[in-house]
Amino acid sequence: MKVLVAFKRVIDPDARIKLTADGSAVNTESVEYKANPFCENALEAALQIAEEHDAEVVIVTIGGDDTDQTIRAGLAMGAARAIRVEVEDQDLDSDLAARILAAVYKEEGDVDLFILGKQAVDGDNNQVGQLLAEYLGLPQACFASAITIDEDASEAVVTREVDGGLETIAITLPGVITADLRLNTPRYAKLPDIMKARRKTIAVMDLDDLGVDDTALKIEVVRLEEPPKRQAGALVESVDELVAKLKNEARVL
């Protein structure tokens, strides 16, 4: 089996986001980057599948060589190798990211499964896996909280976190799965694995290599703003005061 995993870095989700003065972009001066949490779930899922089914796990990242640190972290978790698609401008829309990943899938060949995080916590778009599946004509199982692959790796049974409960579907492989947070707990890399990861291959390709010649974005960001801050209200001293204010001031009871 061969499993591809999309692996993206994001600005530390716990850090305060600042915009540039002209509001055209997020200020990336002295920010720290981490792997997108959902991408770590995706990679962990792939590694667990590999342990059961003798699969090769390949990380796919889009970005410049400044993303190599994130890629090495993924290799230290246990991926066999990585592909980095070199793009200069990293402000891609979801559509172009999906078309690039689709091109990698075709270039790589013999892929059984493409696992992604359900969303990246920077753009919060929650689209790339679905777009990728449609571009490749593959079935999808998004927002996965459990994955079982059958013995001959022909089908994945996936439990999906959906409104109102848990849905289970089966998809014929090859297919696309996107990971939700409760799918697993990503492993920590051990020191020997971190050392070993330094010798693993990161193959660099560019858009020409992949035959992606249409780099037009479908969605263009016009401007970014900080949303208006909600004003903090007042502290109340007692339950009685709270109930009185809800009834007489807010009028919500």
Partner: protein
Amino acid sequence: MSNILVIAEHHAGALKKGTLAAITLAKQIAAKVGGGFDLGVVGGGVAGVAAELQGYGAGSVFVVDGPAFADYLAQPYTKAVVALADKAGASYVISTAGTTGKDLLPRVAAALGAGMVADCVGLAEGDEVLFQRPMYAGNVMATVRSKTAKTVVSVRTSDFDVAAATGGQSPIVSVAADGGEVAARFVSFDATESERPELTEADVIVTGGRGLKDGPTFWNMMNPLADALGAAIGATRAVVDSWEEVPNDMQIGQTGKVVAPKLYIAVAVSGAIQHLAGMKNSKTIVAINKDADAPIFQVADYGLVADAFKTLPELTEKLKAARG
């Protein structure tokens, strides 16, 4: 000819209220570009849903109805929505940003060659159709332009008023669609049993955080409070991650549900950024936490620094009394 198509969200034969919020966005777009809007329904045995939608002022209610569409699966539904969009001559295809919309709409966008705007919360002022959507857990508001002839939009329904019925009888038009070869099959649905209102449709939500000790205590504390208010119960990510008694679909936050009820009561919730992203548009926010420095107090209209275990029984009784 109207060129905006709103795809209805429905479950078990009932229309989801969020569809009416999506209609509101359609009307806002129509006010800028002219024309009206159509409605679309996909499913197996959805005549009732279609009939319910006739009174909202749509040009037509287009329906794909058949056994191949009885259970939701992304591939056949994509084909059906594309058929509806072709029939309606739609430049905009809009639906709700629930889990079905999030699963389906990007595929529809790829199939139509359309740009996809996720989680739209409003339009920017001016003549041009520019969409506003949150990024970075709601810490950044982006204004975006779709550069394609067709655009697909998922709507964050809590940010729009629901469209009122306008009377009239939009004609129902049956549309043929072929689900095609499907490499997926539905296996089962394990519904979260609840007598309470749905989180995304509730007027009052009470949410418990990890300060409530464990799963059984969570329910013992939150159930009476929710009963007193007729409220839906939500939970933080830490709670659904840690306590198996609390199901995942109760999670409110950036990666869970986004809600904006009239009254939101957060109990023993610290107020992590990702949680605030899911509830800070609520009209009135109450926070009860024993830590006076908890970030939740920065968005609360009314804060009570108190131990939840001591306060909740008293609050529950006094709310009951106040509501008569």
